[in-house]
Symmetry: C2
Subunit: 240 residues, 2 copies
């Protein structure tokens, strides 16, 4: 019901990504992530990209639009990266752990300073800002993904225990387990950005593993060709 089509579809980029525009977006993405959005001016972006401001404004029209493209592109890349890593995993438990593995790999080479969406949210207070929907959209999508996968875990448990009504010890309903996984995941990204302790994503993965395997549910041999519950979450390309 509320899984993949969360709020609204992220409208695809309508600007033509010419070579100059691509260089500008690359430079802007790096600068925005490293120093923050408000701390980076368009002059710096143009200079770093080897592009004139004229080109910048011919392609993007405004700085706000550059910000939108920055976040939309990053969101898209992350979802593609995650989908690639998920499509080889079959069981719900394996897929959940694969999300954390993917996040760790992604963070290692893309997000040493924390989640770009969370960081952008710290600088964009107005919910009517066009970037706001991208930020919350990705997070809602991640929550839906975790919840879908948690549903698979629940189903496994029910099958094993002979159809108890879910809510009991280790996580209760799928919605609740999904939210807990979401908290661990978000917390890990933040902790990594702050550098509080070593490898928080691995720590979150371990805790997730305990959580979903607490009652001894399936670690290996995960039943068939991926239950339909999380089908659209993994393959859903750019929507919501």
């Amino acid at each position: 019901m509320s899984s993949s089509t969360g709020t609204s579809t992220v409208e695809p980029r309508r600007i033509s990504m010419t070579p100059g525009a691509q260089r500008a977006l690359d430079a802007a993405s790096r600068l925005f992530y490293e120093h923050g959005i408000h701390a980076v001016g368009v002059d710096l972006i143009a200079a770093e990209a080897g592009v004139t401001k004229k080109t910048l404004y011919d392609r993007f029209g405004s700085k706000e639009q550059i910000v939108v493209e920055y976040l939309a592109a990053r969101d898209e890349r992350w979802r593609a990266f995650l989908a690639e890593r998920l499509k080889t995993e079959q069981g719900a438990a394996e897929r959940i752990l694969a999300v954390f593995d993917a996040s760790r790999a992604w963070a290692d080479e893309n997000s040493p300073r924390g989640c770009s969406m969370v960081n952008a949210h710290a600088e964009i207070s107005d919910p009517s800002h066009p970037a706001y929907a991208i930020i919350t959209g990705q997070k809602k999508w991640m929550l839906a993904l975790f919840t879908d996968l948690a549903r698979g875990i629940d189903r496994g448990r029910d099958r094993q225990r002979g159809r108890q009504q879910g809510r009991e010890r280790g996580g209760g309903s799928a919605a609740q387990l999904g939210r807990t996984l979401m908290l661990l995941h978000e917390g890990a990204l933040v902790a990594r950005g702050l550098g509080i302790f070593k490898d928080p994503v691995a720590q979150a993965r371990e805790e997730a593993s305990r959580l979903i395997g607490a009652s001894g549910a399936g670690s290996a041999g995960g039943a068939g060709t991926a239950g339909g519950a999380n089908r659209e979450s993994a393959t859903g390309s750019t929507s919501a």
Copy 2:
């Protein structure tokens, strides 16, 4: 060893908080949190506080110093708020849950947009920035607090189980349980700021409750007058 005296002491404010300075700091704190640090100029702060820029610079000397005072004061207020809420709880389990309860109450009236430290960290990339130590200092302090309290849980478990060597099912060492609690807590604050789902702090508290009470360890009747493990964490006033 590494608990309360983490890195270095946060040097106390050395500026005289005259009425005008206090009004300026109040205005700056509100504006910084609501719109971000870089998005707020000193002219706006002065105008909102009903103070001239001259007064601002006579008191604080620079915008950077205003930022430092903003974060230091908020850090101080949070620690005092938390200490107040913790001093009535006696068992380690109760104290852990009290942290989440305090966080929820604090967020309700102070942090609808997420943790101010995390948000500030998104805007301050330079680790040599004087505010950086305040940010990481609070987070390290929180981790030490959780770890201290987790040690109390571990001890309770060992007592109950007849001195097994800790690491086993539900969290293993105190350090590990402390880190997991940290992840849940940080994740909850982020999720609340993003408004992804309802009351993430309560969700985190529930999960924490399951975590520390997994083996049926003490929910009520928590053993005497607060074990020495977490003594300095609760009462440590402004240090670390």
